[in-house]
Subunit: 137 residues, 2 copies
DNA sequence: TTATAAATTTGTAATGATTGCAAATATATA
DNA sequence: TATATATTTGCAATCATTACAAATTTATAA
């Protein structure tokens, strides 16, 4: 289970990112969210608070976060890029009915028991499932 | 390891798809390919053989194949959608250096040992890794 | 075979997410 | 306080994908 940093300012600083208002709000929103929001969702959610916010800033900021390794990209549908503040090894389940994306735990054994990749360096691993969630049944 | 159907005409028919020239060539190309091609790649490869081929046809055909369950979408980068004729349970490894996408075997135990998804119906599972392949090291 | 209907393919225009870029603003430094 | 640097912003450009209607091909019925 993801434990979101209680002090986002220090968390960003520790990651080498200067905590501007925009960056802070975007990180906070993402770390509080359980829905794995898209750029659109983030932008719409923060626009009221930060009326001058630009969508380009959201893109820039998320890219910056990625480069510093504090968020990950969730690529399930080819037409919607989602973001996740939880960078630990875990899986995603997308319900094809309600569209929600859920997290689920995944043990590291999964990666370790993979054959056929001897001598490959693994830097990222992504696991996702699709189907119908219990709510929608 | 994927065993490509030796008779593509019958394979398409069995899947309920009328085997037009375009559909046949596209399926054949995809099933012979090990590179998990994009629409662009497929289009460029087949244009010489089928000079009137339209990119829209490639899109339409791949969507049709998906709907009939004979191909799967490989979504690793958010800006490149790839396709795979192998619909069996297996993983993908993308080398971030050379850009190639490799298959690797994955046992079904992986899916079965997942906790936290009791009462969820799973219809699709995708597993991919990123890193550096042995060739690039 | 020939006319007619249905399916498929095609080209072009529209859409929509993402990126490039340069101006504007804010922050840090001398 | 002036100057340099970093950040944000808005708008235009790009690029993959989709919508759509015309053109072509294939199947069906007379």
């Amino acid at each position: 289970m993801f434990k979101r940093p209680e002090n986002a300012v220090n968390f960003l600083k520790d990651a080498g990112i200067k905590p501007s208002v925009q960056r802070l709000r975007i990180y906070e929103f993402l770390s509080k969210s359980i829905e794995h929001p898209t750029v659109e969702t983030i932008f719409n959610a923060l626009s009221p608070e930060i009326p001058t916010l630009s969508k380009t800033t959201v893109y820039n900021t998320l890219k910056l976060f990625q480069e510093h390794g504090i968020i990950m990209v969730v690529n399930i549908e080819d037409n919607e890029t989602r973001y996740d503040a939880d960078t630990s090894f875990h899986g995603h389940f997308k319900c094809t009915k309600c569209g929600r994306v859920y997290d689920f735990p995944l043990s590291l054994e999964h990666t370790n028991t993979i054959g056929g990749l001897e001598n490959y360096t693994i830097t990222e691993s992504h696991y996702y499932l699709k189907g119908i969630c219990s709510n929608c049944k």
